[in-house]
Structure formats: C-alpha cells, structure tokens
C-alpha cells in the first residue's frame, strides 16, 4: 500500500550528495518555515525581520525568558524522541499524543490518590504508572500491526481521539475535582511536584529528564544491540528478517518504548507544570513532536535542536502576543510548513544537473 511504501522514507530520509550538501538539505524545512512565516507577516503589513528579532528577544532575553522557552521545549523534546524512535524502527506511530494523555492522567491519579506517601516513592510511582499507561496505550496498535498487519497509521491516529475523549470523561466524571467548575482533576500532593530549574520561570527539572532521555536515545541507537535491531528493521526490513531479527518483536518493542516516552512526557507536564490533569491540556505536543522528529532527522541531537526551535517559537510568540497584536497562530504556520517540507523527497528538489551527476 502507498502508506507503507512512504513509511519507509520517513524511517530513512533520502540522502543525497556529500556531507555539506546533506547538512544544507536538512535546513530546507527550517528555511521554508521561516519564509512562510515571513510571507504571512508581510501580508499582514509587518516587517518579518523586526518581528523575528523580537521573537528571538522574547524567547532568549534573560534567564526567565530562557527558562520559559525550555519549559515549552520539554514536552516537544519528549514527544519528538518518542516519534523518532518509532520512525527509526520503521513503525509509523502518529499516536504519541494519545499516550501522552494517558501518561498524564496516570501520573495525576497517583499524585492525588496516594497523598501523604513519601515524596520519592510518590514520584517513582507517578512516573512508573505514567510510563506504563503510555506504553500500554501504544501496545495495542503495535500488536495489531505486528500480528495482523493492521495499518498502524490509522489505528494510532484514531486512538489519539479515543484517548483525549476518554481522559476528558474521567476528569469530568469520576475524577472531577470537588469544587471546581472547570474540567480538571484534584491537585497532586506537593511532594509529587517537580522542582523548578530556573525559578521563577516555568521550567522544571523535567527538562533535565528530557535531555537525559535524548542522551539515552543516542546511546541506544549508537551502541546497543537493541538500537541496531531497531535501526536495521527500519531501513531494510528484509535484511533484518534474513539476519534473524524478529520483526514482530521490533515492532512491539518500538511501540512500547515510544509509548513509554510519551507517557513520561505526560507525567512531566502534570508534575512539573500544571500540578493536575486538565482536560485537553495539550495544544498538540504529540503532533509538534512529529514535526520535531522530522526536522531533526530522527536523531537525538536533531530532536533537541528542533524541540528548542519549537519551544522558542512557542514561548516567544506567546510573549509577543501579550504586547503586540501578532496572533500566536504564527507558530502553527511555521510548524505546519516544517512538517510538509520535511517529508519532501529532497532528491527531486535538486537541480537536474546535480541529480544526473549524483
């Protein structure tokens, strides 16, 4: 099917030319996004350069601004890594958003249920349950894909909406906080909250966890047998199967770890930022994560840089919206453009002369 033929290209972006040229091509989606943003800004009568400069200043000017940028970077880094891991293994998981919701709810549930438990135990329990919940949520589409070839693109996409509505039900029904009109769970025990990294900004030590996760990602893919199996299965499933790698196991394991990372992302958002589960809290972190994974070419360092880009964009625009009338939606114009341009077949974009020579 056409979906799976193209899934391979997501796992293994087409590479062309030498090292320098490849690096330059990596920047194409980034440049296209800035250009699209500039066009929209021009259309609305604003100077793009001035606006971008203002954006950078709002995102990085001073330690509070930097802290808030890192706070926005954190969830995208997690969801980017979760997506990249699945893509690297050739599994087209677009259901990170769903696992994120399940993980967030699980962490909140532990946090407001076992009030008074010792802090470290509570944190461990919350993170463990969140990771399990996220992994369990992505296990089903993984199993369906591995055992019966049920298209994981469709199942993971659909399960996102199931997860969003399911957690919405939980937090509006059985777990609605007493005395609140809004749809949110009770607050978690203060002992389960993650400390601030750069007070008084919003960034928690969850950012360090995200960086650690990126490091772990790099180590797994660079140095371990598991990483090798995932990578080989993603780039050439036939070769992998021929050399004795169980594709069944690769798909299930990739989905489990991807869901686990997404679940932890949800926990960090609850324990580090909101302090409770809030109905529909994610502005699409799972989908921005896809953009980050693609922009970062499914590598650890790439994801860190891409997440930082989206984090800065999101925080910078939010601040800018406060005192100019430039709508926050500018962020979506840029990230939508990134997604589209990141999946172009770069070989077809090259001038014909180069294509024939290369």
């Amino acid at each position: 099917m056409s979906v799976h033929a193209s899934a391979e290209r997501v796992a293994r972006p087409r590479v062309v030319g030498g090292h320098l040229e490849r690096t330059l091509w990596t920047l194409v989606p980034f440049g296209a996004a800035l250009l699209a943003g500039a066009l929209v800004l021009l259309l609305s009568g604003r100077d793009p350069l001035v606006t971008y400069a203002l954006l950078v200043e709002q995102a990085f000017g001073g330690h509070i601004a930097i802290g808030n940028t890192l706070a926005q970077t954190t969830p995208v880094l997690f969801t980017g890594l979760a997506t990249a891991l699945a893509f690297r293994a050739g599994v087209f998981n677009v259901g990170v958003e769903g696992s994120l919701y399940l993980g967030a709810f699980a962490a909140a549930w532990v946090g407001f249920t076992f009030v008074g438990a010792p802090g470290p135990l509570l944190l461990l329990g919350a993170f463990g349950t969140a990771g399990l919940a996220g992994a369990a949520w992505s296990f089903l589409p993984g199993l369906l894909r591995a055992r019966w070839r049920v298209d994981e693109v469709v199942t993971t996409l659909m399960l996102n909406f199931v997860a969003i509505n399911l957690t919405s039900y939980l937090v509006n029904g059985p777990f609605l906080a007493v005395g609140t009109a809004n749809s949110m769970s009770p607050l978690v025990d203060p002992a389960a909250r993650l400390g601030s990294l750069i007070p008084p900004s919003q960034v928690s030590i969850g950012f360090v966890l995200a960086l650690g996760m990126a490091l772990g990602f790099g180590v797994v893919f660079g140095f371990t047998a598991l990483g090798y199996e995932l990578r080989v299965s993603g780039t050439s499933p036939r070769f992998a199967a021929a050399s004795g790698i169980s594709i069944f196991r690769v798909i299930v394991v990739a989905m489990l770890i991807s869901g686990l990372i997404a679940g932890i992302a949800g926990a960090v958002q609850v324990l580090g930022v909101n302090g409770r589960f809030i109905d529909r809290f994610s502005p699409g972190y799972g989908f921005t994560g896809i953009a980050a994974a693609l922009l970062g070419r499914n590598t650890a360092l790439g994801c860190v840089l891409a997440a930082l880009f989206f984090g800065a964009l999101s925080n910078g625009s939010a601040m800018m919206q406060l005192f100019t009338d430039i709508p926050l939606d500018l962020v979506n114009v840029l990230s939508g453009t990134v997604m589209i341009f990141a999946v172009l077949d770069v070989a077809r974009l090259r001038p014909r002369r180069l294509r024939e020579a290369g």
Partner: protein
C-alpha cells in the same frame, strides 16, 4: 421516543459535512491517496462560505466559494505528494496545522475578530420541504426540511458510485490509485488522476465545511470542524472506501453527533459517545484484518 425522534430529525443535517468529506476522502483513497488533510479543506470551506455569503447575500455563491477554497488548498497539497514525493500522512497532518494557523492568524488581522466571525444578518442555506414526504407523521421531519446541500450530498452517493464503477474516467482514476506502474503502462497519466481525486476531495470537503457554517450554525469559528475531517476518515475506512458503506458510516457517526448533544444531562457521558467513531474504526480494521488472516490460513507476521 421523543429524544430519539429529535435525534433522528437532526441526524440528516449534521451528517452532511461528514458525508461530503467522507465521499471526497473515498474518491481520494480510490485515487491512491489517504487524505488526512480533509479537516483543513473543511475549515477553509467553512470560512469561504461565510465570507462570500456575507459579502453577496447569496448562500449558494458561498457554497461555490467553499468548493473553490477546498480546491485551492487541495491542488498544491496533491502536487507536493505526487510530484515531490512527500509522505501523504505527514503532509496531511502538516496541512491541517498550517491552514488552521493561517486562518487563526489572518482572522484577527483582516477582520479584527478572534476565534469566531459572526457577521450580522448572515444568510443561511434555505430549508426545503419535500412535498408529500413532509406530511408523513414521524418520518416526515426526519427526511424533509433539510438544506439543499444535504439533498445534493445524498444524491452524490449513487452518482459517485456510478462514476467510479461504471465510467471510463472512474476506471482510470481507480487504476491510477491501485497500481501506479500498471496505470502508466496502460497509458494513463496516473499522477494527473491522483491530483484530480485530491482536488475532488478538497472541493467536497470544502462544501461540507460550508454546510456546517452557513447551513447549520450560521457563523465561522476556528475550532468549528472539531475533528470532523478525522471522523470522515474513519467513515471511509469503516466503509472500505466503497460509496454506500461509507455513506452508511457517515450517517451512523452523524447520529452519534446528534445524539451526544441530546444526551447531555441524561446520565450518559458525552465524551464516551464522542470517542465512538474512532473506536469503531479501530475495531473494524482489526476484525477485517483478523478475518483476512484466518481466511488466508496461518498468521501473517509483520
């Protein structure tokens, strides 16, 4: 009985955006592309319909504008997939984000409103009573008294079925969708047929958006599509991209949509009704795949 009747009366009306988008998605799927960007086409259509109807006072021009808006978005989207080899799933998700961003950005800049645009005196699509049918007790109001776009949408179901299965262009479109190389060998310019199917999907989804904005609610809101593009996707997956089963799914999901509004305060959680279409698709795909594996004997491993 009263609640059921009210729900059924509303069902045909609220099914229409789903039906149109799903029929578009079905054509696109038969043409070889899984369209995740229907949501974007619908949103653009909904806005175009409100703007043009507001300016001209004619809701039918609004519907035309919506079809055009869907087309204008669908063509470059299709070209990016067919000519530049972009992954259709990611490009579709990206299109949704991009179009929502563009509209969200330009709405306050151009019209000075945030989120919702509700021009005073906005014409709506008229409601048409079908003679005789309208007077049948109980059933009359369920079938009659809808807007013209709704009737048009249902008329399209047999027309699309006939087009796909009984005409040469329909055959070419399906050939281009099922096997690119074979279609090429048969002298069919496959990419062009694929692009045509995407454009048709864009136009139909755009009209679906128009029916929602100027047929049902009478305003434009940036969040008004609210996942209907994905429910349409669920409908044509549920219907295995065949016209009548897809239409039936759109009607069923429309019924859920109509029911959840009326079940509020009746003890049935709205959210659990809202997740049904998505769950139904996952279950359907699973059942189909397991049945296929059983029939083929043995278990397919990856």
């Amino acid at each position: 009985m009263e609640v059921l009747h009210n729900t059924l009366v509303a069902t045909a009306l609220v099914s229409t955006p789903l039906l149109l988008a799903a029929m578009g998605g079905l054509i696109n799927r038969q043409g070889g592309i899984v369209n995740i960007g229907l949501e974007a086409n619908m949103l653009a259509g909904a806005l175009a319909a409100v703007l043009v109807t507001w300016q001209t006072g004619n809701p039918f021009l609004g519907v035309l504008a919506a079809a055009l808006a869907g087309t204008v978005i669908a063509l470059p989207f299709s070209l990016v997939i067919t000519r530049l080899g972009a992954n259709e799933i990611i490009a579709g998700l990206g299109l949704n984000v991009l179009v929502a961003g563009l509209i969200g950005y330009l709405l306050p800049v151009a019209l000075g409103v945030y989120g919702t645009f509700r021009p005073a005196g906005l014409q709506r699509l008229p409601r048409i009573d079908i003679p005789f049918v309208h007077d049948i007790p109980w059933i009359g109001p369920i079938l009659s008294g809808k807007d013209p776009v709704t009737y048009l949408a249902w008329l399209l179901v047999p027309l699309i079925a006939a087009f796909l299965y009984r005409t040469t262009p329909g055959l070419r479109l399906r050939a281009a969708g099922s096997d690119l190389e074979a279609a090429r060998a048969a002298g069919i310019s496959a990419h062009r047929w694929r692009d045509l199917s995407t454009v048709l999907a864009g136009a139909l989804a755009g009209i679906g958006g128009a029916q929602l904005s100027i047929g049902i609610v009478g305003l434009f809101g940036v969040g008004m599509i609210a996942g209907r593009g994905f429910i349409a996707l669920a409908a044509f997956y549920f219907g295995a991209a065949r016209p009548w089963p897809t239409a039936a799914a759109a009607l069923l999901f429309g019924f859920f949509d109509a029911a959840q509004v009326r079940l509020q305060g009746q003890g049935i959680p709205v959210q659990l009704v809202q997740l049904l279409p998505y769950l139904v698709v996952v279950v359907t795909l699973t059942v189909v795949a397991i049945t296929r594996a059983r029939r083929e004997g043995g278990v397919a491993v990856a």
